[in-house]
C-alpha cells in the first residue's frame, strides 16, 4: 500500500446510512428488536429511523444506499491496498450517540497507523483505517478504526 498517505485526511465524503440495509443486516444478525427492524417503532421511541446495530461497521460504504462508485471506495482504492492479500483483523467503534438509518454523515478518513509484525509466512503489514463521522451540523457522531492485515 501507499504509506506516503499515512496520517493524511482522505475525504470528507458524505455517506447516507440506508434504513433498508440497516434493517436487512439486523435481520441477518438475528435481531428481533423492532428498534433495528421497524422504522415506526424506532420513530415512536424518538429516533429518526431504525438504529444501526451495535458494533456494525462495513468497510467503505457498506451501509450506504449504493455500493457502486462510492467516493469512500475510491479513497480506499487510492491507498493501493492489495485486498487479495488482505484480511480484516478487527475494529474499534466509539459512539457519541446512537446512529440511525437515513442519516447523512460526513466521513473523514485517514490511515492512522501502519506497523509491520513478523508472521509465520513472512512479515505482515497492519493498517489502521480510521474514519470520523459527523452529522450535518458538524457534531461528532462516531469514530471507527478498522484494522487490516496485508500479508507479504
Amino acid at each position: 500500500m501507499r504509506t506516503d498517505l499515512v496520517g493524511q485526511d482522505i475525504g470528507p465524503v458524505d455517506v447516507v446510512i440506508s434504513p433498508k440495509i440497516v434493517a436487512q443486516v439486523a435481520a441477518v444478525l438475528g435481531y428481533d428488536d423492532p428498534m433495528h427492524l421497524d422504522h415506526h417503532a424506532a420513530r415512536a421511541a424518538g429516533f429518526g429511523d431504525v438504529l444501526v446495530p451495535t458494533g456494525l461497521v462495513a468497510p467503505g460504504d457498506g451501509l450506504s444506499e449504493s455500493h457502486e462508485g462510492d467516493e469512500s471506495q475510491q479513497a480506499l482504492a487510492a491507498l493501493e491496498i492489495d485486498f487479495t492479500r488482505t484480511l480484516f483483523a478487527g475494529t474499534e467503534v466509539e459512539y457519541r450517540r446512537p446512529v440511525c438509518g437515513g442519516e447523512r454523515l460526513r466521513a473523514t478518513s485517514r490511515v492512522a497507523e501502519v506497523s509491520e509484525r513478523p508472521g509465520s509466512a513472512g512479515p505482515m503489514q497492519f493498517v489502521v483505517w480510521e474514519t470520523r463521522y459527523a452529522d450535518e451540523a458538524g457534531k461528532p457522531v462516531m469514530t471507527t478504526r478498522l484494522t487490516f492485515v496485508e500479508r507479504s
Partner: protein, 145 residues
C-alpha cells in the same frame, strides 16, 4: 434475558463480575452469504467453497464485520440498543457455517457511570473467534456522556 442494567439498579455491579454468557444460534451459511451481499463485501472467501479451499479454509468463512457485529448483538442483549459507547474487537479465528459462538465477559472498570468490560466469543471447541473490550453507560446519574 432481562436487561442487565435493570438488574444492576437493585444489585450494583462490581469489578470482576462476570457478564451473563450467551450461546448464539449456529451461524448459518445463508446468513454469511446474505451479510456480505447486503454490505457489498465482494470477497469470495465468504461465498465460494472452492475459493475458500484454495485460501486454505475448510469451508467459507463469516466476514469479520459479521463476527464482530454478533458480539455487538450480545452486548445489546445485555444492556439494550443505545448504551454501548465503545466496542473494540480483534478477530482471532475464522467462524465457519454451523459454528455456535458463546459470548462472555467480565467487568473491568466502573467509573462515572460507565462500565468497561472484557468480551469474547468462543467457538464450540474453545478456540477464541474474537476478543476485545467494550464500555457502556450503566448509570445515567453519573454518566459523563
Amino acid at each position: 434475558m432481562t436487561n442487565l442494567l435493570d438488574q444492576w439498579r437493585s444489585a450494583p455491579p462490581a469489578i470482576g463480575d462476570s457478564l451473563p454468557t450467551w450461546e448464539l444460534p449456529p451461524v448459518g451459511r445463508e446468513a454469511i452469504r446474505e451479510f456480505v451481499t447486503i454490505t457489498g463485501d465482494r470477497n469470495a472467501v465468504h461465498v465460494d467453497e472452492e475459493f475458500a479451499a484454495a485460501a486454505g479454509f475448510p469451508s467459507v468463512i463469516a466476514s469479520g464485520p459479521m463476527t464482530i457485529a454478533l458480539v455487538g448483538r450480545y452486548l445489546e442483549r445485555l444492556v439494550g440498543p443505545t448504551a454501548v459507547r465503545r466496542l473494540a474487537v480483534q478477530l482471532r479465528h475464522p467462524v465457519f457455517p454451523g459454528d455456535r459462538l458463546v459470548c462472555s465477559g467480565e467487568i473491568t472498570g466502573l467509573e462515572n457511570g460507565i462500565a468497561t468490560c472484557d468480551v469474547r466469543a468462543l467457538r464450540e471447541d474453545g478456540t477464541t473467534a474474537c476478543k476485545g473490550t467494550a464500555s457502556f453507560v450503566h448509570d445515567t446519574r453519573g454518566a459523563a456522556i
